[in-house]
């Protein structure tokens, strides 16, 4: 396949970026999208240029590092996958592909396609945990039975990989889906209920402080989420938030 790439190049967080054109040949349909980027970078190095910087690590859809905005969609055209799981068979010979970073005020660009998502970490630090020390003599794991349905729902929420596609796809750059996943995971489990009130208030507060936008229920986040995290969790977050405010 021959492809025409239009890639966002930006030297660092201070400088101005622009779209740069690249042409690339001999792309096999069995390549993953990132392997296509590897081929491009080898070519750029060969020509003494600075390779395109992008985040990636596990390349099997679980670490949440990769974060490209491809043809107007985070993680590209396929659903329920990350960029590293996207394969070139999804494109046709002669296609033009636009590749940009995830864009949000709370995700400043570091270089090219690499953005700073530490805002997510700070939201988690504000309350995304259960306050329990490591002692080696907590309750036996089977002391509290947990209804399978709740355990499964908690698990589904917990599969969030923290990639930020929800933010990138949202016209308001809202992080509600991300926050709702963590809040819901814990509030569905008996161990997490104890601190539910403070958790939801702190996390929502931190989310606002980081500069993420508000949720207007467009649902774009759910469509683009590589793990298919459901909008139901946003509804749950709203309920938890109201409940917590009433309590306080």
């Amino acid at each position: 396949m021959k492809l025409y790439l239009k890639i966002w190049r930006q030297k660092n967080s201070q400088s101005k970026g622009k779209i740069v054109d690249y042409e690339i040949d001999d792309i096999s349909p069995d390549m993953s999208f990132l392997e296509m980027m590897d081929v491009l970078n080898e070519k750029i190095i060969d020509e003494d240029g600075d390779p395109v910087a992008f985040d990636h690590d596990c390349r099997e859809g679980i670490c949440g590092s990769c974060s490209m905005f491809i043809n107007g969609e985070p993680h590209g055209p396929d659903k329920l996958i990350t960029t590293c799981q996207l394969h070139m068979r999804r494109f046709k010979d002669g296609d033009t592909i636009y590749i940009e970073p995830f864009r949000a005020k709370a995700f400043p660009i570091i270089k090219d396609l690499v953005v700073d998502r530490t805002a997510f970490d700070r939201i988690q630090q504000s309350g995304g945990f259960i306050s329990i020390n490591t002692s080696g003599n907590t309750l036996d794991a089977n002391t509290i039975p947990i209804e399978k349905e709740n355990a499964d729902k908690a698990f589904d929420a917990a599969t969030c990989i923290g990639c930020g596609a929800c933010v990138a796809s949202c016209k308001n750059s809202s992080a509600m889906l991300f926050v709702s996943a963590k809040v819901s995971q814990f509030s569905l489990l008996p161990q997490g209920k104890v601190e539910a009130t403070d958790r939801v208030l702190n996390m929502v507060n931190q989310m606002d402080e980081e500069g993420f936008g508000n949720c207007t229920n467009t649902g774009a986040c759910h469509v683009e989420c590589p793990k298919g995290i459901s909008l139901d969790y946003i509804a749950k977050l709203n309920r938890e938030y109201v409940k917590a405010n009433l309590k306080k």
Binding site: K11, D30, P51, F129, K148, A154, F155, T159
Partner: protein, 767 residues
């Protein structure tokens, strides 16, 4: 004092040679040590010289050469030996006077096996909470081992500085572990116990691990599950609300706890949330996108590290009272592996170069069920969890002509009759069947494919087939629901539903990569590098041979012997981080309560920093023509072809030479573009590959030294008539712990003999 000279390699007294005798010229490195001893290493240059042409006083004048002009080819020969000495010089440049390893003691406590750990916990010294506040600990790596250690140490009151090269500690590669975590809970009432988990692990590791460490691991395993559940890790549950279990290779009980095919993710997020709580309290200072470049040893103790900020390129000095390495394994040595792209050996290797022993480097786990390689562009391999072998059956065609037809695409695997399929694991190992340990399953797949029965274009794939499980589950479901069990379409769709609930994400991953529907046609799989049992040598306290430097998780060697059982990596990572290290490190730090803050302006820090900067300068300013990936791929090929699933003396010797040549090519021809003071992934990668180039040689040296087959280390010379691994307990019942030498071939071997007092040494059988 150090110097490099040339000499002739006399093999008998000088007088016995005549002037026409030809001898090999060696480069000779001499170093005088602090304790009056000296160190000499010699390396052949391959150049021969007649005695009469040799000028031993060549250095006394400018225009004289070691090989005199009477030799017809003297210019060329002198050039070669000079280049060899330059090569040697670049190896030893960063060499510090080596200390003889004195404290090579595993420090296993006395007493009966089952009391060792509890007695030891009572014996070690403690540090009071008030003093902990004045002590800093550096943790490198934030996967399961590092993350859990950071959280626990911070909870105890220490000041933790955590480093990871990823943009968040949640992205460490533990996240990709799929199948599960073992624990001797015996919730299923199937006869499991701490002893059985211990025994299975020792046996699975082919009797090459330390009894006391393995027993401790089994002992704390059940606390891990309690801790994780308390943290909110959503493990799979049964309808009664209790935890569910499944079975893994090499065992006959169900002791594996899981969260679909994402157990690693859930456990890591558990550790990550525990860390976050401490970050919020200010007890953990996070340094993301930072890579460790070197360790700093002051007065014999690990006192800090040098890091590179991956965004700004800044080289930083960080000091602490102790340094904990949780930097993972080195499977990426093979280029293609199931490791993440960034996983590397550099942190461990730098520590090794400063005096820590490196144990069993060649013990590598080749995982039997990975998606096969499809082309040269491939950057990594994807694992299909071992849990799939609970329900999948592995087979190849019985007839070689059928295998040909399938690989050419003229015959579909589902059209091949049952009697024409060879379920070779069930055939060879009736007792364990498809659930034999990983090393056994991998070799069996290789054996079939080498014999020509491979089922894809490259001839390197076997089938993993779920059709019988789909029908079995479907019938059960139909029966429960009162539906027609003879309606095959219905049965199949019900069965697929069950399989989807169990392994849905794995099947989806497979479909995305291969573009085939694994519910309808069998998966194709082939072994791939997955985990490294070898690593930094540690004692019972998990301390390396550098005082104050600890290694935990995959970075150390301690628990898995020559082969790791499935679902035990997560167990070891969390055991080390949550329960072992936080107890043992107190004993060491008890000496440091009065030390006060460790300054980072000592000359040792500045020198280490300077060395790092020089190394970076050298790579970035080299006017070469080949990218770092070019060299990494080449290195991977050498290792995979010569030191992979089966090894022999000839190949291993060839690998050592090939790696030496590749390494000098690397330093001459590497090209790193971009800027050293900004985000530059090719520079980061070049630094990592430079260390792989050195480790690779030690890897081959270790494999060559071990003249036996055990676990994942299969030497073709040592096998039974049936092709099973043949261990040699009389001569090789030891851990190979290597002491660094700038000429890696000459690394010194220390042996830790393994005593088995609680299990009988048997040849491992899964038949």
């Amino acid at each position: 004092m150090k110097k490099i000279t040339y000499s002739l390699n006399y093999r008998k007294p000088k007088e016995e040679y005549t002037e026409n005798c030809e001898l090999t010229v060696c480069v000779r490195y001499y170093q005088k040590l602090d304790d009056g001893k000296h160190k000499v290493v010699k390396k052949s240059t391959g150049v021969k010289c007649k005695l009469k042409d040799w000028d031993s006083d060549w250095h006394k004048a400018e225009n004289r050469h070691p090989i005199k002009s009477t030799d017809s080819n003297y210019l060329e020969k002198n050039r070669i030996i000079r280049n060899k000495s330059i090569d040697l010089h670049s190896f030893i440049k960063d060499l510090k006077p080596l200390k003889n390893i004195s404290s090579f003691n595993s420090k296993v406590p006395n007493g009966p096996l089952h009391l060792k750990w509890s007695n030891h916990k009572n014996d070690v010294r403690l540090v009071s909470p008030a003093n902990k506040r004045n002590i800093d600990i550096i943790v490198v790596g934030t996967g399961l081992a590092g993350g859990s250690a950071c959280a626990t140490l911070a909870e105890q009151g220490y000041n933790v500085k955590a480093f990871c090269f990823q943009d968040s500690s949640r992205r460490a590669h533990s996240i990709a572990a799929q199948g599960g975590i073992n624990a001797a809970k015996n919730y299923q009432g199937d006869g499991d116990s701490v002893y059985r988990l211990f025994y299975d692990t020792i046996k699975g590791g082919d009797y090459r691990s330390r009894e006391s460490n393995v027993y401790r691991l089994a002992e704390v395993s059940s606390s891990i599950i309690d801790q994780c559940v308390a943290q909110g890790v959503p493990f799979a549950r049964e309808y009664g609300g209790l935890l569910d279990n499944r079975s893994f290779g090499g065992v006959l009980v169900s002791r594996t706890f899981y969260a679909k095919g994402q157990t690693g993710q859930q456990l890591l997020l558990g550790a990550y949330s525990a860390m976050n709580r401490q970050v919020a309290r200010g007890k953990i200072e996070m340094f993301t996108r930072h890579e460790m470049m070197d360790i700093v040893v002051v007065e014999g103790k690990a006192r800090g590290i040098i890091t590179r900020n991956l965004i700004t390129g800044e080289i930083e000095k960080h000091s602490a009272h102790a340094v904990v390495l949780a930097s993972g394994g080195y499977g990426n040595l093979f280029y293609l592996s199931t490791n993440a792209m960034g996983s590397n050996v550099s942190a461990a290797w730098k520590v090794h170069k400063k005096g820590a022993l490196f144990a069993n480097p060649s013990f590598t786990q080749i995982h039997p069920t990975c998606i096969p390689v499809s082309g040269d562009y491939q950057s990594k391999l994807t694992l299909m969890s071992e849990s799939l072998r609970n329900d999948g059956r592995i087979w190849v065609p019985k007839k070689i002509e059928d295998a040909k037809k399938i690989s050419e695409g003229t015959l579909k695997p589902i059209d091949l009759n049952e009697e024409d399929r060879d379920y070779y694991l069930e055939r060879r190992y009736p007792a364990f069947g498809n659930l034999v340990p990983r090393d056994v399953a991998s070799r069996a797949a290789k054996e079939r494919c080498d014999a020509g029965y491979g089922v894809n274009k490259t001839g390197e794939a076997v089938f993993l087939d779920f059709s019988s499980a789909i029908i079995r589950y479907g019938k059960e479901k139909a029966l429960v629901k009162g539906l027609d069990t003879e309606d095959m379409d219905l049965v199949k769709s019900l069965g697929e539903g069950v399989i989807r609930a169990k392994y849905g994400n794995l099947f989806q991953m497979y479909e995305k990569i291969v573009d085939e529907n694994p519910y309808k046609t069998p998966m194709m799989i082939y072994p791939a590098v997955h985990y490294t049992m070898g690593g930094l040598w540690v004692d019972y306290n998990l301390m390396t041979t550098i005082p104050g430097c600890y290694a935990i998780g995959e970075a150390n060697f301690s628990d898995h012997g020559a082969n790791r059982l499935g679902a035990s990596a997560l167990m070891q990572g969390l055991a080390d981080g949550y329960f072992v290290l936080p107890n043992t490190i107190n004993d060491y730090l008890a000496d440091d309560i009065k030390t006060g803050p460790i300054p980072n302006d000592k000359p040792e820090f500045d020198e280490a920093k300077k060395n790092v900067e020089e190394k970076i300068e050298k790579l970035i300013s080299n006017k070469g023509s080949k990218s770092v990936d070019f060299f990494h791929k080449k290195l991977g090929k050498i290792i995979w072809n010569n030191c992979g699933m089966s090894r022999n003396e000839t190949d291993l010797k060839k690998a050592i030479k090939d790696i030496q040549n590749l390494r000098s090519d690397f330093y001459n021809n590497i090209k790193v573009t971009g800027d050293k003071n900004s985000f530059n992934e090719s520079l980061a990668k070049a630094l990592r590959v430079a260390d792989f180039m050195e480790l690779g040689e030690l890897f081959a040296v270790d494999a060559l030294n071990r003249n036996e087959s055990c676990g994942g280390h299969f030497r073709e010379e040592y096998q039974t008539k049936e092709g099973e691994a043949l261990r040699n307990d009389d001569d090789y019942r030891f851990v190979s712990a290597w002491e660094y030498n700038p000429i890696i071939e000459f690394s010194k071997l220390h042996k830790e003999h393994l005593d088995f007092e609680n299990v009988e040494l048997k040849s491992r059988s899964y038949k």
